[in-house]
C-alpha cells in the first residue's frame, strides 16, 4: 500500500475545545501510524488550518469529526466521506484512523 492521505474537518457547537482537540489528536495519531493527516478546524474563528482543493483532491478519503453542518463540502466532491463522533476521535484517534483506512482502502 502506498502513502495514505487523509483530510478532514472537525467541528463542535462552541468550537472552543473539542474542535482543536480532535484535530490535533487525529493529526498526532496520523504521524504515529505513518499517514498524512490534515484536519481543518471549523470552530469559533471560522476555518483554521484550511484544506485546499489540491489537498482535497489527493486525499484517499475525508474524515468528518462532527455531527454538525460542515461548510465548503463541495471541495470533497466524489470523495468517500466518513463521519465519526467527535468524542471518539479525541479518545481513540489511532483506532479511528485505522478503522477508516481499512474500511475505505480494502
Amino acid at each position: 500500500m502506498s502513502e495514505v492521505n487523509v483530510v478532514g474537518v472537525s467541528a463542535c457547537p462552541a468550537g472552543l475545545a473539542h474542535t482543536p482537540m480532535a484535530a490535533k489528536a487525529l493529526e498526532l495519531a496520523g504521524k504515529k501510524l505513518g499517514y498524512n493527516v490534515k484536519i481543518e478546524q471549523q470552530g469559533m474563528m471560522g476555518p483554521v488550518h484550511a484544506i485546499t482543493q489540491e489537498e482535497a483532491d489527493q486525499a484517499d478519503f475525508v474524515l468528518i469529526a462532527s455531527d454538525q453542518k460542515i461548510t465548503d463540502m463541495e471541495r470533497f466532491k466524489g470523495k468517500k466521506v466518513i463521519r465519526v463522533n467527535i468524542n471518539t476521535c479525541i479518545q481513540a484517534p489511532e483506532a479511528v484512523l485505522k478503522k477508516c483506512v481499512s474500511a475505505v482502502m480494502n
Binding site: 467541528a11 463542535c12 457547537p13 462552541a14 468550537g15 472552543l16 475545545a17 473539542h18 482537540m21 469559533m44 475525508v62 462532527s66 455531527d67 454538525q68 453542518k69 463540502m73 470533497f76 466532491k77 466524489g78 470523495k79 468517500k80 466521506v81 466518513i82 463521519r83 465519526v84 463522533n85 468524542n87 471518539t88 479525541i90 479518545q91 481513540a92 483506532a95 479511528v96 485505522k98 478503522k99 477508516c100 481499512s102 474500511a103 475505505v104
Partner: protein, 366 residues
C-alpha cells in the same frame, strides 16, 4: 427510516444553529453589560432614563442599545442557521424570516427552531425539482425562495402561530412560577446545574445553556445564572484540585491542565474539564452532582441579576447578590476538588480503551 439516526441528525442541525448563535449572544450581552456597569459605578441604575437626554449617560445608553440588538437577533440567527445546516444557502433567508417571526410573535426559541427545520427541508426538497436547464435559474431565483418562505409563512405564521405562542408563553409562565416558589426553584437549579456537568460542552450541556438563554431573552435571568455557576465552577474545581492535592497524584499533562483550567473556569468554558472526564468517565457523577450542588446553593442563597448576566467570573460584576453567586461557585468547585481524586486515578493512562470494534463509521460519497 432509522429513527435514532434521524434524531442524531436533527440534534446536529440544532447544534449548528446554536454554534452560530453563541457569538451573537455573547457579543450582545457584553455590550449591554459594559455601559450598564459603568452607569452603575456612577450611581445610575437605569440607563433608560437617559434615552432622550444628552451627554455621557446618553452615550452609555446608545452603546447599551446596540448590545440589545444582538440579544434580540438570537432567534433570527438560530432559525437561519438551523435552516442552513439542513438545506444550505437556499434555506438561509427563509430561516432568518422564520426566526424573526418567532421573536415578533412570541414563539420563542422553539418557534425559531421549527421554522429553521421547515425552511431547511423545503429547500432540500426544492433541489429535487427537475426541469430543463433554461428553467433552472428560475427555480433557484424565484421558486425556492417562494416555497421556503411561503412554507414558513403558512405553517409558522398561520397554522402554528397560536399554538407555538401559547406553548412559549405557557412554558415561560410555568418556569417563572417555579423560580419564584422556593422548592420548585431549587429543582430548576439542580436540574440545570447537573445538566451542565453531564457532557461538559456537548449536547446536554448546550441544551441546559440554551434553556438558560431562552429565559434570558425574556428577561428572566435566574436559570442562566444557575447554568453560569456550574459552567465556571466545574473547570475551576479541577484547577483547585491540582492546587490542594499532592502533585504526584497527577500525570504531568493533567497537572499542567489544572493551571489552564483556572482560565477556562474564569471565563466560563466548561470544555476545559473534558480531559479529566476522558481519563475517567465515572467523573460524570462528580461533575453532575457538583454542578447541581453549586447551582442549588446559588438558588438557595437567592442569586439574581437585573441586567443580562455575564458568564464566568465576570458574572460576579453583573450579579445583584454577589455572595450567592460566589458561594455557588465555591460549593461546586470545592466539591469537585475534594471528591474527584477520590474516585479517579489521574496519574497514568487508565482510561477505558476504545477499540476499533467500538467505533461507528458513517460512510457516504460526497
Amino acid at each position: 427510516m432509522n429513527v435514532k439516526k434521524t434524531l442524531k441528525e436533527w440534534e446536529g442541525y440544532i447544534m449548528s444553529g446554536i454554534s452560530y448563535m453563541i457569538p451573537t449572544i455573547i457579543g450582545g450581552a457584553i455590550i449591554v453589560g459594559i455601559p450598564q456597569l459603568i452607569g452603575m459605578a456612577c450611581g445610575v441604575d437605569d440607563l433608560g432614563k437617559f434615552a432622550k437626554a444628552t451627554g455621557f449617560f446618553h452615550m452609555l445608553y446608545q452603546v447599551n442599545q446596540v448590545g440589545w440588538i444582538g440579544i434580540s437577533l438570537v432567534n433570527l440567527v438560530i432559525g437561519g442557521f438551523t435552516a442552513y445546516a439542513i438545506g444550505d444557502k437556499p434555506a438561509l433567508g427563509a430561516g432568518f424570516i422564520g426566526g424573526q417571526l418567532a421573536t415578533n410573535n412570541q414563539q420563542g426559541f422553539i418557534g425559531a427552531v421549527i421554522a429553521g427545520f421547515i425552511a431547511g427541508y423545503v429547500a432540500r426538497w426544492c433541489r429535487k425539482i427537475h426541469v430543463s436547464d433554461k428553467w433552472k435559474s428560475a427555480i433557484e431565483l424565484l421558486v425556492t425562495p417562494l416555497l421556503t418562505t411561503g412554507a414558513v409563512a403558512v405553517i409558522n405564521g398561520l397554522i402554528l402561530n397560536a399554538p407555538l405562542a401559547a406553548i412559549n408563553t405557557g412554558l415561560l409562565a410555568w418556569i417563572k412560577g417555579m423560580i419564584t416558589s422556593k422548592t420548585n426553584g431549587l429543582i430548576v437549579a439542580l436540574v440545570l446545574g447537573g445538566m451542565i456537568g453531564v457532557d461538559l460542552g456537548g449536547p446536554v450541556n448546550k441544551a441546559a445553556w440554551a434553556a438558560g438563554n431562552f429565559f434570558f431573552l425574556e428577561g428572566v435571568y435566574q436559570p442562566c445564572l444557575y447554568t453560569n455557576i456550574a459552567i465556571c465552577a466545574i473547570p475551576l474545581g479541577y484547577s483547585l484540585m491540582t492546587f490542594v492535592w499532592p502533585k504526584k497524584r497527577f500525570s504531568g499533562n493533567l497537572y499542567e491542565l489544572g493551571r489552564s483550567n483556572l482560565i477556562s473556569g474564569a471565563f466560563g468554558i466548561t470544555e476545559g474539564a473534558i480531559p479529566y472526564f476522558l481519563k475517567a468517565p465515572q467523573l460524570i457523577f462528580v461533575n453532575v452532582i457538583g454542578g447541581a450542588l453549586g447551582a442549588g446553593a446559588g438558588e438557595l442563597m437567592g442569586v439574581n441579576s437585573h441586567i443580562p448576566p455575564l458568564g464566568g467570573l465576570p458574572g460576579i460584576l453583573t450579579a445583584d447578590n454577589i455572595p450567592a453567586y460566589v458561594c455557588g461557585i465555591l460549593v461546586c468547585a470545592v466539591f469537585i476538588a475534594v471528591v474527584a481524586p477520590l474516585v479517579a486515578n489521574f496519574t497514568e493512562d487508565n482510561g477505558k480503551k476504545i477499540t476499533e470494534d467500538d467505533i461507528q463509521l458513517d460512510i457516504t460519497t460526497e
